[in-house]
């Protein structure tokens, strides 16, 4: 029997964005918030600073262009919306109007990855690849809702653009205790330390990675879970160190295409630095249009659910050493 709910209720867990922006807006009279009709999370900012809130309606290209125009004139612009559209419909505006002049436009949104019943028009599965290819762009993907606020706050101090990817934001687990980790853009988080294999992940699959590490612990396997929430610039030092500290065994899990996202960025670090590994496996979305279902069903269907993650970690530690 389904419960009755409204969109506002579904979105309520995203309130951290709205609260953070309202607080920052009070501190900075040059902070503007723009949205292409995805403003439900932004009511606090909208109601407190109506003159600095712009809802352009269904017009992603103009939304990003207007944000750039504001930023050219000394303002900080936050664009909030659904990432499949901001990352693709407005990609050229992001590239030429924001990244080329390196303007402080902060793009934050939801629907990164296979986030349920929307279907492939409404899943951003290429977005991290697209954004990471842009000069001057910082690219993040965040699973912990509290961290979203912290990163948004830090981004206000950056002179250039940033992309902040969320999944749905309605059922994210708080992963980290306050102050447990030093949150700094460009630094990965060792969410759980381990010595047999490193499982790199970001965003919504961090929780699943921690569950998989629990499973392996029962078998006596020590899994390091790295929340590599900044994909660009990548924390190369942590990648290189994890290779030597976890026996050269890597698994990368992400709610993104397996090529072009975090796995690709980690393999670039490995290759560029001559790191030798005993095993490397990518878990994520294959080159398919994913279909309908809930998040967990979709991950299981496409080979990167919890059971697949556990299996991949087992394979990783069983692989013979190559040297």
């Amino acid at each position: 029997m389904p419960e009755t709910f409204t969109f506002g209720d579904m979105l309520s867990a995203r309130s951290v964005i709205g609260e953070t922006l309202a607080a920052e807006g009070a501190k900075r009279d040059n902070l503007w918030v723009l949205t292409p009709d995805i403003g439900a999370t932004l009511v606090e900012f909208r109601d407190t600073f109506p003159d600095r809130f712009i809802d352009v309606g269904l017009a992603e290209q103009a939304c990003v262009g207007i944000a750039a125009g504001l930023a050219y004139d000394g303002n900080i612009s936050v664009v909030s919306g659904m990432l499949p559209f901001l990352s693709m419909r407005a990609l050229e505006q992001v590239r030429s109007d924001v990244c080329y002049p390196n303007l402080p436009v902060k793009i934050i949104g939801t629907h990164g990855g296979l986030v349920g019943n929307g279907g492939s028009t409404h899943y951003a599965v290429e977005d991290l690849s697209l954004m990471a290819s842009l000069t001057n762009m910082t690219v993040t993907s965040i699973g912990d809702p509290v961290m979203v606020g912290e990163v948004l706050r830090q981004s206000m101090e950056m002179s250039g653009p940033i992309y902040i990817r969320l999944a749905v934001g309605k059922k994210d687990k708080v992963l980290y205790a306050p102050g447990e980790h030093d949150i700094r853009i460009g630094r990965g988080i060792v969410a759980r330390d381990g010595s047999d294999v490193t499982l790199f992940t970001h965003g919504t699959t961090v929780a699943q990675a921690l569950d998989a590490a629990d499973e392996l612990a029962k078998e006596g396997v020590s899994v390091r879970v790295v929340d590599m929430w900044t994909l660009k610039p990548i924390d190369a030092e942590l990648v290189i160190r994890s290779a030597s500290e976890t026996d050269g065994r890597f698994v990368v899990l992400e709610d993104h295409l397996t090529y072009g996202g975090l796995a690709t960025r980690i393999s670039d670090v490995v290759t560029d630095n001559g790191v030798s590994l005993n095993s490397f496996e990518r878990l994520g979305i294959p080159q398919v249009y994913a279909g309908f279902g809930d998040d967990e069903e979709l991950r299981n269907k496409h080979g990167y659910g919890l059971v697949h993650t556990v299996d991949a970690l087992r394979r990783a530690v069983q692989t013979q050493e190559t040297s």
Partner: protein, 291 residues
């Protein structure tokens, strides 16, 4: 009409502005005869009068104070007319014309086919890809409103460019946000790169499209300096609440008979013989109009 502390600095008669537009066209042709690559000379010539009217009459800007917050902002949305803007700005005192001629298109030059704010301070925005200038202008106009500043934000678009959907997104945003400080100028030369506009894209009834979106529409001859000056002088106050579009009927390649309305002259280069022909044609055209 001077407001907010910036004087236009120059007060020219229409005849003097016409002389400045002639100088701009002459310099454009000379660059086209110097630079070995293609110059977008057709679209440059069609906006030469508009840019002269702006940089020597309409825009409250100061070449010696390019960051003054009260300056009018000008964005060249049709970025491929960059050379015309560079030279118009050089004649106004922003840049050295000789630097443009000496370095245009070369490695490490600030002057390239499409303008870059980062490489060329004084330019207000990096443009080139079409359909980007008006959204940027809306953002700048909102910013001015937010700060209570009285300057205008003016952007020049090609008519072909207004085929881009992002233009109309911004047209709606400009109206919805009541930006009377926002001015779009359309260079209605009725040519795109490879075809005549109405043959491929039915823009007409063109002014009605802007009217239907709620803008204040002014239709003028974009080569008639007195009409340009009047249209600029008659712009609504910046604190009014309806944006204005000046639809300027123009001729691509204006001033050189063999370039006018000729699809071959969207862009090109002139050898010494053809440069002489072009300059002679420019003088003849000027004599005819003065007669």
């Amino acid at each position: 009409m001077t407001t907010a502390g910036i004087d236009p600095g120059e007060h020219h008669s229409v005849a003097e502005l016409e002389d400045l537009a002639y100088e701009l066209r002459r310099k454009l042709l000379e660059l086209c005869g110097t630079y070995e690559g293609a110059v977008h000379i057709g679209g440059d010539m069609s906006v030469a009068d508009i840019l002269t009217a702006l940089f020597h009459h309409g825009l409250r800007v100061d070449p010696d104070d390019i960051s003054n917050p009260n300056r009018d902002r000008f964005l060249l949305s049709k970025g491929h007319a960059a050379v015309c803007m560079y030279i118009a700005m050089a004649i106004r005192g922003f840049f050295e014309y000789d630097d443009i001629v000496a370095t245009y298109g070369q490695l490490d030059s600030a002057y390239g086919m499409h303008p870059c704010k980062v490489q060329l301070p004084g330019v207000e925005a990096s443009t080139g890809s079409l359909g980007h200038g008006l959204p940027l202008a809306v953002g700048m106009a909102l910013s001015a409103r937010g700060r209570g500043e009285k300057h205008r934000v003016i952007t020049l678009l090609g008519d072909g460019e207004t085929g881009e959907g992002s233009v109309w997104e911004a047209v709606m945003a400009g109206r919805s946000n009541r930006l009377g400080n926002l001015v779009a100028i359309v260079d209605r030369n009725r040519q795109m790169m490879t075809s005549f506009a109405e043959e491929r894209v039915m823009f007409e009834p063109y002014p009605d499209k802007w009217r239907a979106f709620g803008w204040n529409v002014v239709e003028i001859d974009g080569h008639d300096m007195s009409q340009l000056v009047s249209a600029i002088d008659d712009l609504p106050d910046a604190d009014s609440d309806v944006p204005t579009v000046l639809i300027c009927e123009t001729v691509k390649g204006k001033g050189v008979d063999f370039m006018e309305r000729n699809l071959a002259w969207h862009a090109g280069s002139l050898n010494p013989t053809d440069l002489e022909r072009a300059l002679t044609a420019l003088d003849a055209s000027r004599t005819k109009e003065n007669a």
